[in-house]
């Protein structure tokens, strides 16, 4: 029983990692209608910036907030400079540009910082906490907590602010948005900025757990993508729940389905997700788009 519990807890903490990045993916999808393949690498790169500052002796929180600002500005600049020329191109073309960004960030990070893993400090204590039979670390709880907090902020932003509403409108119908006075390209830039910011926070939360290295996000991004899909790509809450579920599911499959063991746990976890989606094609919490014939 305690083994099961410990697996679930450990799954939740890994799931928290997925959830953080999934949230950033969903955010940018909601704000720009594009799945940004470079999301993970942008987060990784921001985290390196934070690492550089901390290494230079800055206090953690100063580095944290400075990185957030840089990430936001960086996101805006990327949209303005790199995405804008293909703003009107087909979505797949934009996706290709994000793949290009992915390789650039990954490669440049490796070039500047090398591929040696680096520890990244956590704002939370890493001392283990005993909860009955299971042990968690404050760090893991913190990661999950931050993703929930980000989720709440995002929900508020999208549902209850004028700018959030405008951003949703832009994704749905850019022309009509312009006709009500929404500055579409500003919204897209803002969307990239926000997504980069959320990604940077996620990166700084995740790095203490998985260590900082240029490829730290490649695996996570895949899981995050699966999580976002499981939860529903148009549902931030779904992304978080999807991420946590993904983490737990993976652990339980690896632990209890013994003939599969850890060797096929990813495969089985993905299969379970696909089966779920077969029942509910727009994700657990996603809404199907409204269409009329």
């Amino acid at each position: 029983m305690s083994a099961l519990l410990q697996q679930v807890i450990s799954g939740l903490s890994t799931g928290g990692i997925y959830a953080n990045i999934a949230l950033a993916l969903v955010l940018i999808y909601q704000a720009t209608g594009v799945v940004n393949f470079a999301q993970g690498e942008m987060a990784m790169f921001s985290t390196y910036l934070a690492w550089t500052m901390i290494n230079a002796g800055w206090p953690y929180w100063l580095a944290f907030f400075t990185t957030m600002v840089i990430a936001f500005v960086g996101g805006v600049v990327i949209e303005r400079v790199i995405i804008r020329p293909v703003e009107n191109a087909p979505v797949l073309t934009i996706v290709m540009v994000t793949i290009g960004l992915l390789t650039i960030f990954n490669s440049v990070a490796g070039w500047i910082y090398t591929y040696t893993v680096k520890p990244f400090p956590s704002p939370f204590s890493s001392a283990p906490i005993k909860l009955g039979p299971v042990t968690v670390s404050m760090q893991e709880v913190g990661v999950a907590g931050v993703s929930v907090a980000t989720l709440i902020l995002m929900y508020f932003f999208f549902q209850h602010t004028k700018v959030g509403l405008a951003m949703r409108a832009v994704v749905e119908n850019p022309t009509s948005s312009r006709l009500v006075g929404v500055k579409v390209s500003q919204m897209l830039a803002l969307g990239w900025g926000l997504a980069a910011l959320v990604g940077a926070v996620a990166g700084m939360m995740v790095a203490p757990l998985v260590f900082l290295e240029p490829n730290m996000m490649s695996g996570i991004l895949i899981y995050a993508f699966a999580s976002a899909t499981l939860g529903g790509f148009n549902s931030p809450g779904g992304a978080v729940v999807g991420g946590l579920l993904m983490g737990v599911l993976e652990n339980l499959v690896g632990t209890y389905i013994t003939f599969i063991g850890t060797e096929l746990k990813l495969t089985v976890a993905l299969a379970v997700i696909l089966l779920t989606l077969l029942v509910k094609p727009s994700g657990l919490f996603g809404r199907a788009a409204v269409t009329r014939v």
């Binding site: 509403l165 409108a169 749905e172 009500v180 409204v290």
Partner: protein, 237 residues
């Protein structure tokens, strides 16, 4: 005669092909002006040209200020609301959110709330359904929503593109009544593009007739109603 909107030698392009050929057009302040024309004559293009959605040459002035070459989002801020053909609502946003977007450029929160109430009195059905996604409304309701959204801007010029399209006769009649009320009670100037010439000429004071990108005739609505070719092509009597 006070012109609110003036177009001089207006030409517009889709890609490389010219679709408006040197139009001159005036919309008088406080009046309803209608543009009639066959399918494909360039009526929709005209509205899109005015609101800055397509490339144009020539001159467009709104209240004396040149607006040609400006971006749509800036033109909206001057008080021109464009209700596009096919309504252009946001189907996955709620009715209320659609309406809030209509007032996106306004800063006067109090007034916006008051306008919302007033618009609900024009279109009570929108109030009932204010929390359902716009995409679930029927065609007529969506058209009302589109017009209501335009009104939320508290525009000085309201441009309606075929508002009667696909609507039941009884709804069309209602719609024209509302357009007239908006014009008379609120003093909103209206530029209307319509196929239903009978209803349109009834509510409007001035009319233009467009054929393949040229204005072929224009005049007070009453006069045009007497015009033989218009009667034959557009009114059917």
């Amino acid at each position: 005669m006070v012109p609110l909107l003036e177009a001089r030698n207006l030409e517009a392009y889709y890609g490389w092909s010219k679709v408006l050929h040197g139009l001159d057009l005036t919309v008088e302040k406080g009046k309803v002006t209608v543009v009639l024309g066959a399918n494909g004559a360039g009526k929709t293009t005209l509205l899109r040209a005015i609101s800055g959605l397509i490339r144009t040459t020539g001159e467009i002035r709104f209240d004396g200020v040149r607006i040609d070459g400006k971006a749509p989002e800036d033109i909206v801020r001057l008080g021109i609301a464009h209700v596009p053909e096919g309504r252009g609502t946001f189907p996955n946003l709620t009715v209320l959110e659609n309406l809030r977007l209509g007032a996106y450029t306004r800063k006067d929160k109090q007034e916006v709330r008051r306008d919302l109430d007033r618009i609900y009195t024009y279109f009570p059905v929108l109030k009932q359904k204010s929390n359902s996604p716009a995409g679930l409304l029927s065609g007529g309701e969506q058209q009302m929503l589109a017009i209501a959204r335009g009104l939320m801007l508290r525009p000085r010029l309201l441009m309606l593109d075929e508002p009667s399209l696909g609507l039941a006769p009884v709804v069309v009649a209602d719609l024209f009544r509302i357009v007239r009320a908006i014009n008379e009670d609120d003093g909103v100037t209206v530029l209307l593009v319509e196929q239903d010439a009978v209803g349109a000429l009834e509510v409007s004071q001035y009319a233009y007739l467009l054929e393949t990108g040229h204005i072929v005739s224009s005049g007070p609505a009453d006069e045009l109603r007497q015009n033989d070719s218009i009667r034959k092509s557009y009114l059917g009597y």
